[in-house]
């Protein structure tokens, strides 16, 4: 997992590796400064020699300048490589997501992917920067302080060692305990946030039922348990400071006592004692830093794992070697196809055997869960069949390059998405190089031109995020036009006119028949009216073919079809006006 993350440092590696070097140099300089200070005090001040002060002072200024330089470089390099890592991680995830098949996206969920690319990346970025700047610094500080202490006076340094061992033990215990609490806190934070999210999303329901006070008390409860946990965790962490202070000040007292003895005996100078004090302060600082690093690292490890999972996910669908790059015609064949969404789930489709000629218009109808959407998703190879094979133009879809297949099999999804940008930008998703005229022509075919032209900005109207400024029916028609611009050989409408009024729906179908006679049209719908005139109608029931014939014949032979037909035409369920309740 860590290797996956670290590999993404990529071209920022040199600077990442140089950062600890600068830090090391900075630490060395920092360590030397108290040593020089000792000379200034002993030789200069106590020795009464202004010359010595000037000499060692110059040395110290030189060292300080070096320290400044190294410190600045370390800061700069750390910022450079950690932000670089973050950019690479985002890029790597995004790139891999582009390779994801539909089932991979299902696995992670769109919302999950977004969090990984944002929150988790910043968490790792911060941890990495700290790792570069301070993880090296803290142990280095510790070790070099120790070394300097031993240089000054070996026997006094034993005090340091004892203090450090005590502190390390204490920190380890503290951090393991705290880490557990912090994990619980993250879960509670999720709970609080999801209450907020739900309320923001469903504010109309909350207000309609006048249940604001109930929601507030629900939120209070979640906030209170977060509060309690936070108090416990931070209360625990608050022990860190006093314990550390006690131990290190204990060390200072011991140092003073024995130091005094050594000075009297003549094996230590007062200047050296001052330096020892200064080293002990450095030690305190680095121990504090170490403990903070551990806490933050434990928190970011979870994020790193989530990122690595996205980067290393192997897409379950590949282009074949030596792929076919041309779809000959719009023939579609299902050869005894079975399909399940996951290994453990039940078959969504079983033993489907269908043969559709180029240019045919096929209607598909069936209840929720009958497998309509699953069936059509297999044609542009959004999913792979579990058993049997799907062929387009007489060639197995798995033999095409995905790009070739999908550019000739246009599918308008049930869940339509428009992207922010103008209507024209959105249309050109179908064909990057489409002229304005071609776009308008496609919109006319999809009965979208009339309302688009009525917009003040026409085709340059900017679509808001999620397409919220056009109605459901309008959105569907733009999506159909976008699909038409691909000049497909197979056109699949997966319940794509549900929000379009029946008259417009009829006109769109009529246009299709006259303008695109050679294109195979597959129309999935809940509405009998939308598919009634199709050449053949496929009735699906529980993932199996229950009938496949013309409207008239199905009325005679299929009970399921007859039942749907009667329900919808007995005056009870007919659609009335344009669907898609706008404002």
């Amino acid at each position: 997992m860590l290797r996956t993350i670290l590999r993404q440092v990529g071209k920022y590696r040199t600077r990442a590796l140089l950062t600890p070097m600068w830090t090391t140099l900075e630490v060395i300089v920092e360590m030397l400064i108290p040593y020089v200070t000792a000379f200034i005090i002993d030789r200069g001040i106590y020795g009464g020699e202004v010359g010595a002060i000037a000499r060692y002072g110059t040395l110290m200024i030189a060292l300080a300048s070096l320290g400044l330089l190294f410190g600045y470089l370390a800061a700069r390099f750390a910022a450079y490589s950690s932000t670089g890592l973050a950019a690479n991680l985002r890029g790597a995830m995004y790139r891999n997501i582009q390779r994801f098949s539909f089932s991979d996206i299902d696995k992670f969920s769109a919302a999950g992917l977004v969090t990984r690319m944002t929150t988790d990346v910043s968490s790792v970025q911060n941890a990495f920067q700290m790792l570069l700047r301070t993880t090296f610094r803290a142990p280095l500080n510790l070790i070099s302080s120790l070394v300097m202490c031993f240089v000054i006076n070996a026997s006094l340094s034993v005090i340091f060692l004892i203090a450090m061992v005590i502190l390390m033990t204490f920190l380890t215990i503290l951090i393991t305990r705290a880490a557990k609490l912090f994990r619980q806190i993250l879960l509670k934070v999720d709970a609080v946030n999801s209450t907020v999210r739900e309320n923001v999303d469903a504010i109309r329901v909350v207000k309609a039922f006048a249940s604001e006070s109930g929601e507030i008390s629900k939120f209070d409860k979640a906030a209170l348990s977060l509060y309690t946990l936070n108090i416990r965790a931070e209360g625990l962490m608050a022990l860190n400071h006093p314990v550390m202070n006690l131990v290190l000040n204990g060390a200072i007292i011991a140092l003073s006592w024995y130091g005094a003895h050594f000075i009297v005996e003549g094996s230590l100078t007062t200047g050296q004692l001052t330096s020892l004090f200064s080293y002990i302060t450095t030690t305190l600082g680095s121990m504090m830093m170490l403990s903070m690093i551990f806490v933050q690292l434990t928190q970011s490890i979870a994020s790193a794992e989530r990122i690595a999972a996205v980067i290393t996910e192997e897409p379950d669908m590949f282009d074949p070697e030596d792929p076919v790059s041309e779809v000959p015609d719009g023939r579609v064949d299902f050869n005894h196809v079975s399909f399940a969404y996951g290994e453990s789930s039940d078959n969504a489709l079983s033993d489907i055997d269908l043969h559709i000629a180029a240019g045919e218009t096929i209607g598909i109808i069936g209840g929720t869960g009958s497998g309509k959407s699953s069936l059509v998703s297999l044609i542009p190879r959004l999913y792979d069949a579990t058993e049997g094979s799907v062929e387009v133009g007489g060639i197995d879809v798995r033999r095409y390059s995905m790009k070739a297949l999908r550019s000739k099999v246009a599918m308008v999804l049930q869940k339509n998405t428009l992207f922010s940008g103008t209507i024209l930008d959105n249309l050109r998703w179908g064909d990057e190089n489409a002229t304005r005229e071609q776009c308008i022509e496609a919109c006319k075919a999809a009965s979208a031109d009339e309302f688009i032209s009525a917009f003040p900005e026409g085709y340059d109207t900017v679509i808001a995020e999620g397409g919220s400024n056009v109605s459901g029916g309008q959105r569907q028609r733009i999506c159909i036009a976008r699909a038409l611009l691909k000049k497909p050989k197979v056109l699949i409408l997966d319940d794509s006119t549900s929000a379009v009024d029946t008259a417009t729906d009829a006109r769109i179908r009529e246009t299709f028949r006259t303008i695109f006679p050679g294109v195979t049209k597959i129309i999935v719908s809940q509405r009998i009216l939308s598919i009634k005139d199709a050449d053949r109608i496929l009735v699906l029931e529980g993932g199996k073919v229950s009938g496949f014939d013309s409207h008239q014949r199905l009325l005679e032979t299929s009970d399921v079809y007859r039942e749907i037909y009667n329900l919808q035409t007995s005056g009870g369920e007919g659609d009335f006006d344009e669907k898609g309740g706008g404002v």
């Binding site: 001040i45 300080a64 604001e212 001052t274 329900l567």
Partner: protein
């Protein structure tokens, strides 16, 4: 100055709630700062008063004077015990204020969260319409969390730094005036440098926030629309766009971090320069034995070697908090974006609710209106709109002169194309939005005089877009009336034909609905939402018939459910089905915000107007 305004307001809030505790905190900080000053001065005392005298020979005094064979460690031991006591006091003080600050910070956070949420729940829908969900969420996820940093860390550190600086300054000026001035000069330099760098990096931080928002927006849009990206083979172009946004973000984060990272080493080394300068100047003064008044301390004595060593330590104590203060000021200024947003939400105008008339269940399970004077009138269900005008924004009116009366038990259907204003009228009845002109009355009481909760209880609504909450099916039905028993919930489900499918679920009524997981179909969710309204047993109903694609059988169940719910209640229906309009007592045909035709189904057909066009589908709508 508006920015610092909200930060000041946050601090005022904390002072208001934690006055006494903050007093204790301030006291403890003072004690802790003084003890740390005492400890740092100990070095000088140790060397000057204990070690140096011992060096000059055996000095055993008193009874054993002249008898001693070595230096007397007694005074040193005593001093160390005193030091230990001081340290202990300091540690206890520090621990105490840290603990209290945890309570203060966490308590404030909890207070901010709950007060923010409570206010949010009371905000009008227009506020939710004008703020993106992501923005609202980030108040809770980012902004409040940033505030914790300020309250829990920055504020106490700032306070402690100030105390340390003042205390150190006093000791320094007592020891020596010129050295103190020099030290102040160095500290001022550090302060200026930090603020300058902070200013530059703030500029980059703003840029970073902007780029971050852009990348997040792009990811959000593209990843959610990933299926479309794939169907259109748009992967490569999406990648290109992403790469350039990603690079912009990287560059601005780098610039921001590069500068803020550099503040610490720069300050640390300015401190080192200062140290050397002090040593040189001080050394010259001490060794040269300059005793002019300007070279002395406030205590009037000239600089000694021991004092100089102590002064050098003090200098470090003095400069460290200076750079800390400037750092904390930088982070507080940056946090002000968070406080701005938080208080922006807290200051938004809540829904108006001056209504005094309330709704109560009277005798025999019937609803009664209760006036402020205590008089009760039974609810009948007469709803009337008179000359109602409305616009979501002032400049754009969407409804014109809507006049309509629904008599008790009547079923009113609204028809019309997209954007005709059907849903808008519904949102006015229960005061989701305030009308700009005209009146709406419920049993002849102006709805503005009815308390909002009562009004909404008196108007059941089934929204077109079904929103269920995470929890069990039973909990979701009970949402309609929190005190309903299990039996009542099941009865409501049976009434609207939802019982059958619920019983078929793996755990029946205890099946947990998880948002986004989609373990229920859209139609099933809709049935539950109808049951939810049924359990509330509202006297007047507002129904927005579903338009989403639901298979025919489920749709029929929903239709039956809605029909049985409407029985005997005044109902408003946004109609999409023939049966609904055919059975309606009254149909209002809306077009561009006006009622253009009204009457019964047959009458309207006979008019051969807009309704006829809609019905026969000869004319394209919208």
């Amino acid at each position: 100055m508006k920015k610092t305004g909200t930060v000041a307001r946050l601090f005022a809030y904390i002072f208001k709630h934690y006055r006494i505790r903050l007093g204790i905190v301030a006291l403890c900080i003072l004690v802790s700062a003084l003890t740390s000053l005492a400890t740092s001065l100990f070095t000088r005392t140790l060397i000057d008063d204990y070690i140096t005298p011992m060096l000059s020979g055996p000095q055993v005094q008193g009874l054993f004077a002249g008898v001693g064979v070595g230096p007397d460690y007694g005074p040193l031991a005593m001093a160390l015990v005193r030091l230990a006591a001081i340290i202990l006091v300091g540690v206890v003080a520090a621990y105490t204020y840290n603990l209290i600050m945890i309570f203060v910070a966490q308590g404030t956070m909890k207070g901010l969260r709950t007060e923010g949420f409570a206010r949010m729940e009371k905000l009008p829908l227009s506020w939710f319409d004008s703020h993106s969900h992501g923005d609202i969420m980030s108040v809770y996820t980012n902004d409040i969390d940033t505030l914790r940093q300020v309250i829990g860390n920055s504020a106490p550190r700032l306070l402690q730094s100030i105390v340390t600086i003042v205390a150190t300054f006093v000791s320094m000026i007592v020891m020596n005036i010129p050295l103190t001035l020099l030290s102040i000069g160095i500290a001022a330099l550090m302060f200026v440098v930090t603020r300058k760098l902070g200013g530059i990096s703030r500029k980059y931080f703003t840029e970073r926030q902007r780029n971050l928002a852009r990348v997040n927006g792009f990811i959000e849009e593209m990843v959610s629309g990933q299926r479309v990206v794939k169907v259109y083979c748009h992967e490569e172009r999406a990648m290109e766009q992403f790469s350039s946004l990603n690079e912009d973000l990287r560059a601005s984060v780098y610039n921001a971090n590069r500068i803020s990272n550099a503040i610490m080493p720069i300050n640390g080394n300015i401190g080192n320069f200062g140290y050397v300068m002090l040593a040189i100047v001080g050394g010259a003064l001490a060794i040269g034995g300059v005793s002019a008044w300007w070279a002395c301390g406030l205590n009037g004595s000239a600089l000694t070697v021991g004092t100089l060593v102590a002064f050098l330590t003090l200098h470090r104590n003095f400069t460290r908090p200076v750079s800390q203060i400037s750092n904390e000021i930088n982070s507080i200024v940056m946090a002000s974006a968070g406080t701005d947003r938080y208080y922006g939400m807290l200051d938004a105008e809540p829904e108006e609710d001056e209504g005094k008339v309330i709704l109560e269940k009277g005798s025999g399970e019937k609803w009664d209106w209760v006036s402020p004077d205590g008089s009760r009138t039974p609810l009948e269900g007469l709803v009337s709109l008179k000359d109602v005008d409305f616009g979501y924004v002032k400049e754009k009116q969407v409804l014109y002169d809507i006049t309509l009366t629904a008599y008790p038990g009547q079923q009113i259907a609204f028809v019309g194309g997209t954007g005709a204003g059907k849903t808008t009228i519904m949102s006015l009845l229960n005061r989701f939005y305030e009308i700009s002109d005209g009146t709406i009355t419920y049993d002849s009481i102006d709805i503005k005089d009815i308390s909002k909760n009562s009004l909404r209880r008196g108007l059941g609504i089934v929204l077109q877009e079904t929103k269920l909450f995470s929890g069990t099916v039973m909990e979701n039905i009970r949402y309609g009336r929190p005190d309903a028993s299990d039996e009542e919930c099941i009865a409501a489900a049976k009434l609207v034909y939802a019982d059958t499918f619920i019983r078929k679920l793996p755990k029946g009524y205890d099946t947990v609905i998880s948002p986004g997981e989609g373990n229920l179909s859209q139609g099933e969710c809709q049935l539950i939402s109808i049951a939810r309204t049924a359990v509330a047993d509202p006297p007047v109903l507002i129904l927005d018939e579903a338009t989403s694609s639901i298979d025919t059988r489920t749709e029929r169940m929903i239709q039956k459910g809605m029909d049985s719910l409407m029985k005997g209640r005044t109902s408003f229906v946004i109609a999409h089905r023939l049966s609904t309009v055919q059975n309606a007592d009254y149909i209002a045909v809306l077009d561009h915000g006006r009622i253009i035709e009204r009457g019964k189904h047959d009458e309207l057909l006979a008019m051969k107007g807009r309704y006829y066009e809609l019905f026969t589908g000869n004319q394209i709508t919208s």
